[in-house]
Symmetry: C2
Subunit: 362 residues, 2 copies
């Protein structure tokens, strides 16, 4: 054993008077498997390990095909979501909790790529290969990279439903469709027939899921979907009191917001201008983050199960690694818990004619 370096299995083998194969088997607990090692020999090996302070070299173990118990975590977000108000923070908490339970260490891919934005591939090198598999989190993902990742057969799970070329990739997803259908169903049950869906300009899978749930709720109630049921808005809300008045004049009795922040702003806007909610207008939000610093109980909405999504991603990845050939249907869907509020009520007694165009240029 060379000076200054750690002892190797070779040193142990010599000290115990056995071969390195025996040492390896004892260390990995395979001494009672296909090959039997006498317990006397095992004890000699263990004693030598203690005496020499042997510790396995993980790189060598990995190179030789052993397990390293390292799962990667990658996000396209600019920095790791460790700010307490960050939407992605609860996902990470869930990932971390489940990693502990499933006996994995976590490799956070924090290395920059020089372009200012994170990338999976640096100079064509898949950075994730340092881990046995990876959990991906966040929006703004690069679909080309995901596509390539899948083609390479690298094991990964996305947190949030994602389609590549129309096909669902391994993912855990909130049941936005079901939760939206249930919530809009409550509006309909309260008597609403003209409901406007306020969405962002950008279209993605989770928005599509909500839209589907919205339409399913209408269909289930036998209400024909109006030609234009969605009002698209920029990230910075552009809704004014004039919008609200005009919508009410058009017969709209309820608003369903994709983002709860927008819903809150409009709620304040409406009530500040003397409109009653839900008297004049009912309001729902199609999802609410698990943000512990915000405790509103006003708006009817549902929780996005962020921790469960993160934890589920680790569980799913673990399964993929253990059973590479299992056929699993993606995404794994996780239900959303309803959050009751005070913003659903019966529609105003008499609105405008129901036949008018729902939306106009504003």
């Amino acid at each position: 054993m060379k000076r200054g370096s750690r002892p190797t299995q070779h040193d142990i083998a010599r000290a115990a008077g056995v071969s390195t194969a025996v040492v390896s088997l004892v260390i990995n607990g395979r001494a009672n498997g296909k090959v039997k090692i006498s317990s006397a020999t095992q004890e000699r090996v263990r004693q030598a390990i203690r005496d020499l302070g042997y510790v396995p070299n993980l790189a060598a173990r990995q190179l030789a095909g052993g397990q390293t118990n390292v799962l990667g975590v990658f996000t396209y977000e600019p920095i790791f979501p460790m700010s307490p108000t960050d939407f992605y923070q609860p996902f990470l908490v869930g990932i971390e909790e489940q990693a502990t339970k499933s006996d994995y260490n976590l490799l956070l891919f924090t290395r920059p790529t020089g372009t200012g934005r994170r990338h999976i591939y640096h100079d064509g090198v898949n950075q994730l290969l340092a881990a046995q598999g990876a959990v991906l989190v966040g929006t703004n993902e690069d679909r080309d990279e995901l596509s390539r990742l899948r083609d390479e057969g690298y094991p990964f799970v996305f947190v949030g439903r994602r389609e590549i070329n129309g096909e669902n990739i391994p993912a855990t997803a909130a049941d936005y469709t079901g939760a939206t259908e249930a919530l809009v169903g409550r509006l309909i049950a309260a008597g609403h027939r003209q409901i406007l869906y306020i969405s962002f300009q950008s279209e993605n899978e989770s928005a599509a899921d909500r839209t589907r749930g919205f339409l399913q709720a209408l269909t289930a109630a036998g209400i024909p979907a109006p030609e234009r049921f969605v009002h698209r808005t920029e990230k910075a809300p552009t809704i004014t009191i004039e919008h609200l008045r005009q919508w009410i004049a058009q017969g709209i009795t309820a608003l369903a917001f994709e983002q709860i922040n927008t819903a809150y702003e409009v709620l304040e806007l409406a009530e500040g201008a003397g409109l009653r909610v839900p008297g004049d207008l009912s309001i729902v939000a199609l999802g609410k983050a698990d943000d512990p610093t915000v405790h509103h109980h006003d708006i009817d909405t549902f929780f996005i199960p962020q921790r469960e999504m993160g934890a589920g991603a680790v569980t799913l990845l673990d399964r993929i690694l253990r059973e590479p050939d299992a056929s699993i249907s993606y995404p794994i869907t996780i239900p959303c818990t309803p959050v009751p509020g005070r913003t659903i009520g019966p529609p105003a007694p008499s609105g405008a004619a129901g036949k008018e165009v729902v939306e106009q240029a504003l």
Copy 2:
């Protein structure tokens, strides 16, 4: 190149008509170092890399002595500090930010050990060896493990000053001594002569630093340290209004709290009982976490530079890895920014006699 597996340097070498050594040199950017590789050859290698989609095997690279750019993060805390109100969260943020800047990925040691508490050594195996070096965070550390870690020569940095066998180990530390001396100095400048230091029962390095700063402030002002200047308390505060009244009767005019939470509780207790702060009693706290969810501006205190401590730990570890033989004096001390409050004022005009025993059994 075998089916189903990734191409290796050997495949690249064959495709480019060179040896694996050349491939390695080109990949690692050493093609212009001691050994020169013609740019034509370099380009052929790069082309082959692109054509075959080669990606290096990190385990092999590590085993052969190359760089992996992986830094470990270990904490003795029960779970990773991802709760927004957690004291350790800002350290992690700082670590993450600096890791990105210094071009490292982060390996979070989340694997449990079965004992309920985290450990560096699992069955005698140093888990941190999966990384080139590690940053350690949190209290409740196992000094024996730290000692062994240091004896092994494993590169690590603690966030927070720590001594092993009376010797400072590599660490970044808040300047509790200087900040405490300055803050207590303000009390003295305001006229206070009998100041009681409220500390926890447990003694550790940061408490010792504060104590030293406290005594230095007295010494600098030529005030002899009273025999008993510290009141020790349990984690759950055990201070009552009777304590306060008795202290005032004894001539105490100011309290310096180790923990800001205790300071706030006592402030409320005092004011609730009709005592004026700072009229009857001045109060300072010896440090305040960077907790974004709490915004008190009442008590005179100072910020604990948590993010800087985390970031500094990565910077220091990076330096240790690059210059293993550099002699660095530990800990690296980081100043604390003062936080002005409203709880320092001149002492009450006439207290009790200054000669009495400062503390009595209560």
